[in-house]
């Protein structure tokens, strides 16, 4: 299937700073792709390159198979929703929505109908005659969304769409956006620095750092099989330990845990350094030693954080290493407090081997 947007080895520098460095990325039809990364990683620049608001130094950008690398923003069949929403302050909501359609030469009844449709899609018909200054944050976002959708773009580019909304509104808006996307059948590219937002919205996530795309994968795969230490650390909480491939075949020595673990994965030759990662919720915590067959270490609770649904414990081992453990709170669940001696255990398959 031909990608809606194909980014091919695109680079962009601002003076001495390389914002986007040799990025290759496809956006598939109807998918929601999240560009995730810390601020300054180049995700917004990449979005602006696709929209045509920045010119690429190198590489090509294809939209629907057509080379749009040097096309002006107004000639590209994609639309962008800005972080600030960028509504035209001197126009009513309806005029804001009509603006883009007028540029395409839509007139008269057809114009009215399409403005009406777009406003209906975001449930803003009642506020059509309001000025942007009279709208709340959530209403502004919907107006901006309607303005983009009215153009029926091939792909919608969203720059931090939830940044200006409060937490309560954010979750609801995420679901609404996704429902809208499925109904309209257009591709979304969402820029975000919030990994839970990326997981909630995206079909695939591209993790970016320092201008590079580190990994592109479905959220579940990204979470369970991160390609590198940086991805693992950026995408959710994780324990990462340095390790060395052991002399016995199939084993890894983890000095921090004072543990040699048999790992069911292809390993490099003995003595090679690597990293081993373990998600905090895959670790069982108990007062008694774990059953045979599991990996097990013991330690002392350094800190306990109650988070409602879960508790997070920081457990100090005899080596001095601190392990992060997340335990479900539920009926009959054991709770621990600072200073308790505990045993941690997990199945060897829960360990992820990463490059050093």
């Amino acid at each position: 299937m031909q990608p809606v947007i194909a980014v091919e080895s695109v680079s962009k520098s601002f003076g001495a700073v390389t914002a986007v460095n040799g990025v290759t990325l496809d956006v598939r039809p109807n998918e929601c792709l999240a560009l995730l990364g810390p601020s300054g990683c180049g995700k917004t620049t990449l979005l602006r390159l696709i929209a045509g608001l920045e010119a690429a130094d190198r590489g090509r950008i294809l939209i629907d198979g057509a080379d749009m690398t040097h096309a002006a923003p107004y000639a590209r069949p994609v639309n962008m929703m800005f972080q600030s929403y960028a509504l035209f302050p001197h126009m009513s909501v309806a005029d804001n929505v009509a603006f883009g359609l007028k540029q395409d030469g839509v007139k008269g009844d057809a114009l009215k109908a399409r403005v009406q449709d777009a406003l209906a899609a975001v449930e803003m018909e009642a506020l059509a005659q309001r000025m942007p200054a009279q709208l709340s944050g959530g209403q502004k976002q919907r107006a901006a969304l309607a303005r983009c959708l009215a153009k029926r773009p091939r792909a919608l580019l969203l720059d931090e769409p939830m940044a200006a909304l409060d937490k309560h509104l954010r979750e609801r808006t995420q679901f609404e956006l996704m429902a809208l996307r499925k109904r309209l059948g257009i591709a979304f590219v969402v820029v975000t620095h919030d990994q839970s937002e990326a997981m909630a919205m995206a079909d695939r996530v591209a993790v970016m750092d320092a201008g590079h795309v580190l990994q592109v994968a479905a959220p579940r795969e990204m979470y369970e099989r991160p390609a590198s230490r940086r991805v693992a650390q950026f995408f959710g909480d994780i324990n990462v330990w340095s390790a060395v491939v052991g002399l016995a075949p199939g084993t890894v020595d983890i000095p921090d845990l004072r543990l040699a673990v048999r790992i069911p994965a292809a390993l490099p030759s003995a003595g090679s350094p690597l990293s081993v990662a373990l998600r905090p919720e895959r670790i069982a915590i108990a007062r008694d030693p774990a059953p045979m067959g599991d990996c097990s270490v013991s330690g002392t609770i350094e800190d306990a954080v109650y988070l409602g649904m879960t508790c997070t414990y920081f457990v100090t081992l005899s080596s001095g290493a601190v392990v992060r453990v997340t335990a479900q709170n539920g009926e009959g669940a054991q709770t621990f407090s600072r200073g308790d001696a505990v045993h941690l255990s997990w199945r060897p398959a829960a360990l992820t081997v990463l490059a050093a």
């Binding site: 929209a51 045509g52 608001l53 002006a72 923003p73 107004y74 590209r76 639309n79 962008m80 800005f82 972080q83 600030s84 960028a86 509504l87 035209f88 302050p89 001197h90 603006f99 883009g100 540029q103 395409d104 000025m131 942007p132 200054a133 009279q134 303005r147 983009c148 153009k151």
Partner: protein, 269 residues
């Protein structure tokens, strides 16, 4: 009764400092006496005399033509220059342009007037252009220095304005001209209008530069006022001043009203 606070007194003193002279002029414009500073009774005599004075009416017409045309020219040129400074980044010749636009702000009017006069004389001798000088030369001179003020105001407004609104317009399919006239210009309209009004007032007020570059048939109001007070202040001048003050107040009120509308359109926060 509450004792007025220090701030109130300071405010009244400040307003008095600014407006008492104007009030005096307006008051004496209704004086029946031929002597400017001796009050004898209320009268519209001098307004009648003013309207009968062919020379003053002609100068007033000239001044309004010059002020209106030069302010409009300055608003157009200043907006273009301000846009270039705020939006075009570092283009070739930027510093030269910035310097030449700022020059009238810091140069003494006498120097500006003299250099323009020399230029116009040279143009007349070489190309026979603008023979004898007249309103057109004053308009050119005024537009030239007033545009500096418009540039500064428009540039400041554009720099304070997020670019993403213009980018959004481009993203929605608007070509650069549509973006400018449909989005940028409406948003900076208060700044352009303020610049136009300032240019208008500056032109109406200018004596020095106009004296240098005017021709024999193109006397402006300040020139008439200045030359007539050398022969002694006529109460007619009081009446003229009163009219000018009223016109200026009306213009200022208009500007305030327009920028209030503009403020309401700005996004909240």
């Amino acid at each position: 009764m509450r004792r007025p606070s220090g701030t109130t007194i300071a405010l009244i003193a400040g307003l008095a400092f600014l407006y008492v002279p104007l009030a005096v002029v307006i008051g004496y414009s209704f004086n029946a006496s031929k002597l400017v500073t001796v009050w004898t009774g209320f009268s519209f005599t001098w307004y009648g005399a003013l309207l009968a004075d062919e020379q003053i009416l002609n100068a007033a017409r000239n001044s309004l033509i010059v002020a209106f045309t030069s302010a409009t020219l300055a608003a157009v040129l200043g907006t273009m220059a301000g846009y270039a400074f705020a939006r075009f980044g570092r283009f070739r010749g930027r510093n030269l342009l910035a310097g030449s636009i700022a020059a009238p702000l810091v140069m003494p009017d006498v120097m500006t007037g003299l250099s323009l006069l020399l230029l116009f004389v040279a143009l007349e001798q070489t190309f026979a252009w603008l023979p004898g000088r007249g309103l057109i030369t004053i308009i050119i001179a005024h537009a030239g220095f007033a545009m500096a003020y418009v540039t500064v105001i428009v540039r400041a407004r554009l720099i304070g304005m997020e670019r993403d609104i213009e980018e959004a317009a481009a993203d929605l399919g608007a070509k650069p001209m549509t973006v400018f006239f449909g989005i940028t210009l409406p948003m900076i309209r208060p700044a352009v209008m303020a610049g136009w009004l300032l240019s208008f007032v500056l032109s109406l007020d200018d004596l020095v530069i106009a004296s240098f570059v005017s021709g024999p048939q193109s006397t402006t109001l300040p020139m008439v006022v200045f030359s007539s007070i050398r022969l002694g202040v006529s109460p007619k001048i009081n009446a003229l001043a009163a009219i000018l003050i009223i016109v200026t107040l009306v213009l200022l009120a208009l500007a305030a009203w327009m920028s209030r509308g503009a403020l309401r359109m700005r996004p909240a926060k």
